[in-house]
């Protein structure tokens, strides 16, 4: 096991958060965790198919970043996209139905696990090839700037959050897009979820400079590393980056140090990661940690947190029922959605 990187220190107790905001973040993280656990169950029971990449362990990143956005901002995801979609506001029932391939799914059953879209929620998609969502996110950010500066729309201050993993930071699209975003001062957050492993490729084996946030400096862009297991810390850097982007000051590269608790996908035997490494990261579970914070700071009591968990469990159960009872797409509609005018 490679020496763990020293995590940046963040003093959560010094950060200000209203109790309602704390519960909103907590609820979002619980939603992500419970949803993914239900997916694993359904996959192993043979009700869900294909490649299913779960987000367990990384919840602080999705909640910390996306809950710092406005509802008219944009989110662009990767193949590990369920929880980003949920944080962006896509209803759990429509995400679950998509994973069941149903007509009521957010992509009408045509997309599946790695292709979750919702124009209503400005969810630009899950993208199944490494790095291919980054240029698309760049386009959404360009569109905001275009509307503001070419069309004179002073309300066009929308920000785009673009997520990807450590493996992607070795891909050409990453460098090409950082260059263009800095060049044109686009309102975008590049959020690297460095979970240390690209399937079975350890980050250090693929990357000559493992500290990804340092790559921002080449483009004259702020690069920040953050403890991706601490939602308060992620929220803090995200809020600063969003404010910069919204003010027209351009992009930020955020490297969140995090960990996936499960294998790369549910089909991954996960033989390469050491027990010691997994246990070290499991001990830093972002949800347990945030629970501790909320209780210590008297922002919530155990009863309130349990209420949240019960409410979310009900929502997941309802989503499952909805997905199971929803109709499959009609065979008559096999060719529907190829072209816009059909």
């Amino acid at each position: 096991m490679v020496q763990e990187r020293t995590l940046p220190q963040f003093h959560a107790p010094a950060a200000q958060i209203a109790p309602e905001e704390g519960l909103r973040l907590y609820e979002d993280m619980i939603l992500g965790r419970f949803f993914e656990d239900k997916c694993a169950e359904m996959y192993y029971r043979g009700k869900m198919f294909g490649f299913v990449h779960l987000y367990n362990g990384q919840e602080a990143v999705s909640s910390g970043v996306i809950k710092s956005l406005r509802s008219d901002d944009y989110v662009c995801s990767t193949y590990r996209d369920h929880v980003h979609a949920l944080s962006a506001g896509v209803p759990a029932k429509n995400v679950m139905a998509e994973l069941f391939g149903k007509e009521t799914g957010c992509s009408k059953g045509r997309g599946g696990s790695m292709h979750l879209f919702s124009s209503e929620h400005n969810m630009l998609g899950g993208f199944a090839f490494i790095g291919e969502g980054i240029p698309v996110a760049l386009g959404a950010a360009f569109q905001s700037r275009y509307r503001r500066d070419a069309l004179g729309d002073s309300n066009a201050d929308q920000v785009t959050a673009c997520f990807f993993g450590d493996g992607t930071s070795n891909n050409g699209q990453f460098f090409e897009c950082l260059n263009m975003a800095a060049l044109w001062k686009l309102p975008i957050l590049f959020v690297v979820e460095n979970n240390k492993w690209a399937i079975g490729m350890a980050h250090e084996r693929a990357t000559s400079q493992p500290e990804i946030y340092k790559k921002a400096a080449v483009f004259g862009m702020p690069g920040v590393e953050v403890d991706g297991m601490d939602v308060m810390a992620v929220r803090e850097v995200a809020q600063q980056a969003v404010a910069r982007a919204r003010a027209g000051e351009g992009p930020t590269l955020i490297e969140a140090l995090t960990y996936r608790f499960r294998g790369h996908s549910l089909a991954d035997p996960d033989e390469l990661r050491s027990k010691a490494e997994k246990e070290a990261w499991l001990a830093r579970d972002p949800i347990k940690r945030f629970e501790g914070y909320l209780l210590e700071q008297n922002l919530a009591d155990e009863g309130t947190l349990k209420e949240v968990r019960d409410r979310i469990q009900t929502r997941i159960d309802d989503a499952l029922t909805f997905a199971e009872e929803s109709p499959e797409p009609s065979p008559d509609d096999l060719y529907k959605y190829i072209f816009a005018d059909e």
Partner: protein, 327 residues
Amino acid sequence: MAETLLFNALREAIDEEMGRDDTVFVLGEDVGVYGGSYKVTKDLYNKYGELRVLDTPIAENSFTGMAVGAAMTGLRPIIEGMNMGFLLLAFNQIANNAGMLRYTSGGNYKIPMVIRGPGGVGRQLGAEHSQRLEAYFQAVPGLKIVACSTPYNAKGLLKAAIRDDNPVLFFEHVLLYNLKEELPNHEYVVPLDKAEIVRPGKDVTILTYSRMRHHVTQAVKGLEKKGIDPEVIDLISLKPLDFDTIGASIKKTHRVIIVEECMKTGGIGAEIIASINDRYFDELDAPVVRLSSQDIPTPYNGKLETLTIVQPKQIEAAVENMVALKV
């Protein structure tokens, strides 16, 4: 009526569409300050500013993906591929995102974008700059593919492509930019999915597109002198193919020759032959003949290059041969 060069007809189309719809913008390498390698965007930078005529770094895949994202969120990008061969570097974004994303998103997003630029075999430009990509892209679902061949159809088709709510690959030919024609003074658009009957005739149907239309036209002059009356159809739309027009012609002539600059293997002609067999086999009096380019990287040497693509004399001979076999 004013005589216009093809590159200028394209420029007029872009200018007119940018004027009528401020969500239309151009991006690509050297499209702005430089005015485009073939001057299709000349002076538009001065007229519309640097965001609407955006000079990009040399990063084909990423700026193509950027156009996809811009199109998904309400703009109408026109990408200029400085040379269409470079778009092989953007294949991922064109195929996976521009082409498929409307479908995989279950109709959540539409992708109104045009990817245009010069392709085809020029004059000794070498293999990488002399590609015909239409065959590579025809298998991608969700793309429309159009090839212009005259100043008139170039302008009208490009305007239609910009207004279309789907991704359109718009092929121009490097050797046709200086073609001259008188264009109407009034505004017009040409439908993307309709073939053009260049010359009605009764003896044989010649299907062609892009620069080969002009090689066919030359061949027809010789054929006319020999009393042969071919029907010449410029396909215009390579995807979808206009089988209404193709079918009606086959029912009249019962003989088909395809003349293309595309490579033979897996080419546009191969697709047309398969489709004709599916649809009109009983109408045929002879097997369909295709005259395609050789399956080689385009050689630099001028003589070898000429041998690579179909020449008017070959077309003439093939048609004569087919008509002579008439029972």
